[in-house]
Amino acid sequence: MKRFGLLITMLLTSCLVSAATSDKLRIVATTSDLAAIAKAVAGDKAEVYSICTGKEDPHFLTAKPGFIMQARDADLWIRIGLELEIGWEPPILDGSRNTRIRVGGKGHLDASESVLILDVPQTTVTRAMGDVHPMGNPHYWLDPFNGRRMAGAIAEQLANIAPADAVVFRKNAEAFQKELDERMFGGELVKAFGADTLWAKTQDGTIAAFLQDEASKSKTGSWIVAMAPLRGQKIVTYHKSWIYFANRFGLTVGAELEPQPGIPPTAAHLIEVAETVKAEGVKIILQEPFYSAKAANQIAGKTGAKVVVVANSVGGQPEATDYLALMDLIVRRISETR
């Protein structure tokens, strides 16, 4: 009887707790990067939770009961999409019995629908090619331009759910985008030329020549300027997860340590990669902390290339506290290896 009383008390408390917080929206994002951007956009109007912590490989996760509980109370579910979460998202959404956040629902946002996607297979794909994502490479958040678009999409979705605060969400998204533009290009460049012009120049590659230009040479302290000396370089990455970042900053990915997406490095493949590194003069081997650094170190030892281990998600390393800090960290780690 005592236990029953305790249970009833707990049930009532949970009702009170949820009543007390019900004026705030609850956002659950699949990854910490989505959560960080959602936090910036929602401000104090929402509580934001993330399924991934940023420390683990988002391809492999277990749909544990705690995640189902978070999804149960969510007003908005945001996912990366492109089948990144395919191994664990369906049982969470289904288990939550939350009709708001089902695919197609008002509370379900697939962020991939509002960004630029790379690596969309143009030929028939088979699983003999490894864990290929047939709708495109899902690591798009590593392109800061996509970060900008993700903020816009989240603001519009929130405005749709809570129209009363639409102005706040849009204002927050604009502030986030402005801050991002300034970190990308530096405040003075943005002021002088406008963010849109500058982003367009990173898209068509003319930004390099533009930065060479006497007039803008002195504008330092931005991601684009820090990365400028590395432009045109070939890098090697562990997984096919850095293509968006590389593409935006004018790097090319010469090879991956994985012989195929989702297959760990093999000795035979690493010999090939080492040859590529030597032949192409690759200086940087880039990888996430959750992969073993053994293969990268082995190639570095043979070739003199440098291994850069850096988080690709917010929370993956202590410095990556939010989306802009993550980009700061990645740019710093890569640019300081010169």
Partner: protein, 422 residues
């Protein structure tokens, strides 16, 4: 499309469209998303294994003769998927699933083996009920415990735990019925479910015949209830605790003098109670390296039957027979290298193993145990190779039998990428 343009200034969009590099593709405008259709997700699973054991009559025979867990002839023909010496093809499992409309989702799984095809699951589920409710109907695996609702290819060991095999047969509790479940609005995970099944006699514990001299009972003949509780563990730790119980009709027909014809019949009720535990640690490393799973389940079952007919000793008719048995398994699986896992399983059945017989006497039997060790390699998410060794000591009518078994399993999954529950 409207909001996407709204978040951009128009010149930027124009610049982007004009300057898009060859590999970049604007979302939604390309053809890539248009390949989506309303076809259901389809997948096929091929699961084969090689089996060898050192017993004379084979492990399937021994498991059929275990003291206290003896077999019945009621309920018609049971076809056994028990391992044969040599090559075994478990079955080809064809799965289809999709949202039906905004109210229901459906899935169908056909298990095709060499002789026949059967409907493993055909399920309609609601997706629209409020307050955390879900209604499920069709033919499906009961969600009690942990391993019952898993398909054989999801198991971490090639064979099912002994207690499951002995109480519920090769398929576990899988039947026509309905389920109502409720996700409670508690600050921790709490899922409760009740199920009613027709009880068509597939599971030994709920064997049903319904033909004279056994009485007929209207369905549904099995009721199940379960609770699952998941505390909020931090980080990458997940825990689920469960409790379950079930009750239903049971009928047995026996051949007491061994002349090949049934000579006495029993009718009554079966119940089981149990608990389950699953703990998972999801290590940050890729490819399952460092992942750990600990799971265990305990069952206690009771068959309370009355003799409804006896051709040899008719004066015993009306007397009762009560069987009490239990069992458990505990297993742990660890990813010791990327893509490689090793696991150990310990099982015991018949810790309680008593029968009160219709002639007024009682019998107590000993317990049986089995240890298993497995090593598996997962080349990709869609294929797996496994080596498993079992060493068991079984209490049978012919005395204690020690059996060593070896399994070599090879399975693949084609088609849609299936996600697995916790």
């Amino acid at each position: 499309m409207q909001f996407r343009i709204a978040i951009f200034s128009l010149p930027l969009v124009a610049a982007l469209l004009a300057t898009q590099s060859a590999t970049a593709q604007a979302p939604s405008t390309g053809s890539q998303r248009s390949f989506q259709s309303f076809n259901p997700d389809v997948s096929a699973i091929v699961d084969m294994y090689y089996h060898a054991d050192d017993s004379e009559k084979g492990i399937s025979h021994i498991l059929g003769e275990m003291s206290g867990f003896g077999h019945t002839h009621a309920g018609g023909e049971h076809h056994h998927h028990g391992p044969d010496e040599g090559f075994n093809l478990r079955h080809l499992e064809l799965q289809f699933s999709a949202d039906v409309d905004s109210y229901f989702k459906g899935s169908a799984i056909a298990a095709i083996d060499l002789e026949s095809a059967e409907m493993e699951e055909a399920v309609i589920e609601t997706t629209c009920l409020p307050w955390g409710f879900k209604l499920k109907g069709g033919k499906f695996f009961s969600d009690f415990g942990y391993i019952n609702a898993q398909h054989s290819h999801q198991w971490d060991f090639t064979d099912q735990p002994l207690i499951y095999k002995l109480c519920l047969g090769d398929h576990g509790l899988n039947d026509k019925g309905m389920q109502l479940s409720w996700l409670a609005p508690t600050p921790f995970y709490l899922l409760a479910g009740v199920e009613a099944f027709q009880g068509d006699g597939e599971a030994p514990l709920f064997a049903y015949d319904g033909e004279a001299p056994l009485p007929a009972h209207d369905g549904p003949r099995i009721g199940v209830g379960w609770l699952k509780f998941g505390p909020n563990l931090p980080g990458n730790h997940g825990l689920q605790l469960g409790a379950f119980g079930a009750g239903g009709k049971v009928q047995e027909a026996h051949d007491g003098n061994g002349d090949g014809t049934e000579d006495h019949w029993l009718d009554g009720n079966s119940t089981f109670l149990g608990a389950d535990l699953v703990y998972k640690y999801n290590a940050p490393q890729a490819y399952g390296d460092g992942d750990f799973v600990l799971q265990g389940e305990y069952f206690s079952r009771r068959k309370d039957m009355a003799l409804v007919g006896h051709d040899l000793v008719p004066q015993l008719v009306g007397n009762s027979k009560v069987d009490d048995q239990d069992g458990y398994y505990v297993q742990a699986v660890y990813g010791f290298l990327p893509r490689w896992r090793g696991g150990l399983r310990w099982e015991q059945v018949g810790l309680t193993n008593d029968s009160d017989l219709p002639d007024g006497t009682s019998e107590s039997y000993g317990s049986s145990y089995r240890t298993g060790a497995m090593l598996d390699f997962t080349p990709s998410e869609f294929s797996r190779l496994r080596l498993q060794v079992n060493q068991g000591s079984y209490e049978t009518a012919d005395g204690k039998e020690d059996v060593t078994e070896v399994y070599l399993q090879w399975m693949i999954s084609l088609g849609a990428h299936g996600a697995h529950k916790f």
